[in-house]
């Protein structure tokens, strides 16, 4: 095992990783920007290094600064968390070149799976079902129009380099296609420096279901079941749960097996997630691979009783996965809600600011992951995630009741700060969510409904 782990991240995930490092007896080195001088992980860490000013491109995304911090702290491993440099092949490569263990898949695998075009090709070859569409990027508007006519409208045009809900455009009408095609290419170029796009059928009423996979360096892989992440606002998840409601056992098994097969075929190492869309006929289609720990990993930890960060570190240290798929047993139901400092009534606009009062829920089967403290603040420089609240219960109805109870205990106060707490409660109450038959359109339904109807 390692001696010192540099955590190249901030916020709740940096603290989350630090906690497991501490439990494993590993020294914790944190990095921070000047915005985060007094953050939770800085206080928790054995050593902390200031890597730059507030804007992430000059600190958390600035490769030379992070590499220097690793050198100065004597780190022998680097955990990238999620976001920031976590899926940058350059970072994995720089770590390898500096003799540091990167806690994640090899640079080449990140490169292949981060490009949606090569990822789709690899997964298709491994036998995973894809939505009808193109594997190779499409060269011009005419080619797109031809593909779209073949597979039928609506279609979705996606940036090859996209991800996290950015760089995609639904096209409902052939007449709009030329304009929308130009727009998405231009957006993709400005967001990712890569204007290649591909086309596939768009499922308006799909569920977002993903599989948590672990692969070691010795060719062993297994999955820790599904997560349903269909409750999304602006294509970002806000409620996640495990297992996925209503998914037939044979689909659970087929999808899990496909995910493991796909990642093993790609030479994956570490914890990874394979995202699928599930249509109303319970058919599933490969969407993308996330080469990192996910924000929503706690729900899987709660149902499986497994510390996924611990498994990441053990795998990175060369240990073998000891368990077999058959030995794993999930128990009960877990739900996570992301508490964002944002205003749902103003299109989820972030509401950063000072936190004067902060009370988190506690008690039976409630887990809180947060880096926020009363007296601290939510910085405008970063993502507005304030806390993750996760609950476990023997079944889904009890888990929903428990989450409602937990959210009711949450108190966040500060000048100008609001949260999506009440919005989450409304979503949890929606008949489609209660029935477990909702899809990714749930939030739109909530927003288009007058309040009286809810």
């Amino acid at each position: 095992m390692f001696h010192t782990v540099l955590i190249a991240n901030r916020g709740e995930i940096a603290l989350r990783v630090a906690r497991t490092c501490r439990e494993l007896g590993l020294r914790v080195a944190a990095v921070y920007s000047t915005e985060d001088r007094d953050s939770a992980v800085v206080r928790f860490a054995d050593q902390a290094v200031c890597v730059g000013p507030g804007p992430a491109r000059h600190s958390y995304l600035y490769l030379p600064a992070i590499m220097e911090a690793a050198r100065q702290t004597g780190a022998d491993a680097v955990h990238p968390g999620y976001g920031f440099l976590s899926e940058q092949p350059d970072f994995a490569e720089a770590c390898a070149a500096a003799g540091l263990t990167f806690v994640g898949p090899p640079a080449g695998v990140i490169d292949q799976l981060g490009d949606k075009s090569t990822a789709r090709a690899a997964m298709a070859e491994a036998g995973l079902p894809l939505l009808p569409g193109t594997i190779e990027p499409v060269a011009d508007a005419e080619a797109v129009a031809k593909v779209a006519a073949d597979i039928g409208y609506p279609v979705i045009v996606k940036a090859v380099a996209g991800g996290g809900g950015r760089g995609m455009q639904v096209v409902n009408d052939p007449d709009d296609l030329p304009r929308q095609y130009r727009e998405i290419r231009s957006t993709a170029q400005s967001l990712f420096g890569d204007d290649r796009v591909y086309v596939e059928r768009y499922l308006p009423a799909a569920r977002h279901v993903e599989v948590q996979v672990l692969c070691d360096q010795h060719g062993n892989g297994l999955h820790l079941g599904q997560r349903d992440c269909s409750v999304q606002r602006r294509r970002q998840k806000i409620i996640e749960e495990s297992p996925a409601p209503g998914l037939p056992p044979e689909v659970v098994e087929q999808m899990g097996g496909a995910a493991v097969r796909g990642l093993l075929a790609a030479g994956y190492v570490g914890a990874g997630t394979v995202e699928f869309l599930v249509d109303d006929q319970q058919r599933f289609y490969f969407m993308e691979v996330n080469c990192r720990i996910q924000v929503e990993h706690p729900v899987t930890e709660m149902t499986h009783g497994i510390d996924i960060v611990r498994e990441q570190l053990r795998i990175a240290a060369g240990e073998r996965i000891a368990a077999t798929q058959q030995e794993l047993a999930a128990r009960g139901w877990a739900i996570e809600c992301r508490i964002n400092a944002e205003d749902p009534t103003r299109d989820f606009m972030p509401t950063p600011g000072a936190l004067t009062t902060l009370d988190f829920p506690g008690g039976p089967f409630v887990r809180v992951d947060t880096a926020a403290v009363a007296g601290g603040r939510i910085s405008a420089a970063y993502d507005p995630l304030l806390a993750k609240i996760a609950v476990w219960a023997p079944d889904r109805p009890q888990a929903i009741s428990r989450m409602r109870r937990a959210l009711s205990e949450l108190v966040v106060e500060g000048p100008g700060v609001s949260t999506n707490r009440d919005f989450l409660l409304t979503a949890l109450d929606h008949p489609l969510f209660v029935a477990g038959t909702h899809d990714t359109s749930l939030v739109e339904r909530l927003n288009s409904q007058p309040r009286e109807e809810q």
């Binding site: 290094v49 200031c50 890597v51 730059g52 220097e68 100065q72 009363a374 000048p415």
Partner: protein, 162 residues
């Protein structure tokens, strides 16, 4: 066990604590009800006095300050102060252009704005450190070859009179 607030087995806070509380609350509720801010406020109750004054421009924001001040974040650990020259990046600090050479600057030297005074090496990149103002090097804070963090002070500079 000497706190007046918690006399053993007693149900009531001690007189001073009660009075202090009362006066504070009375001030807060008075101010909340007023809506705007008075120029000065003085409340006396027994041994306790709360006396407050505001200038014209502070009036509108006084409540938030009153409420939030006790929770304000602590002083930053290594914020650049005065006219220090600080590290532009985390890395290794060098005072000279190469091993064995004379340092870019020494204590007592006059420097002008933009003059190179050192190097920080990060990932084999050699990033020049420049004076941010005309002035005199009062102290060399970081040693040659020392690891430095972003924003860490390297030299103290006394700015020249304008």
């Amino acid at each position: 066990m000497t706190s007046l607030l918690e006399p053993a087995q007693s149900d009531r806070p001690a007189p001073l604590a009660e009075a202090l509380d009362e006066v504070r609350r009375s001030a807060q509720s008075l101010l909340a009800d007023l809506g705007d801010r008075p120029r000065a406020l003085r409340i006396r109750a027994g041994d306790v006095v709360v006396e407050m004054e505001w200038t014209e421009q502070q009036r509108s924001a006084a409540t938030a300050v009153v409420a939030a001040a006790p929770d304000a974040p602590p002083e930053p650990k290594a914020a650049p102060v005065g006219s220090d020259i600080s590290a532009p990046i985390v890395g290794t600090f060098y005072r000279a252009p190469e091993p064995g050479a004379a340092p870019f600057v020494s204590e007592g030297d006059q420097v002008h704005k933009g003059q190179q005074v050192g190097i920080v090496e990060a990932m084999k990149l050699m990033i020049p450190v420049e004076a941010e103002t005309d002035g005199r090097i009062v102290a060399a804070i970081a040693a040659d070859g020392a690891p430095v963090e972003f924003g860490e002070p390297l030299f103290r500079v006394e700015p020249s009179a304008q």
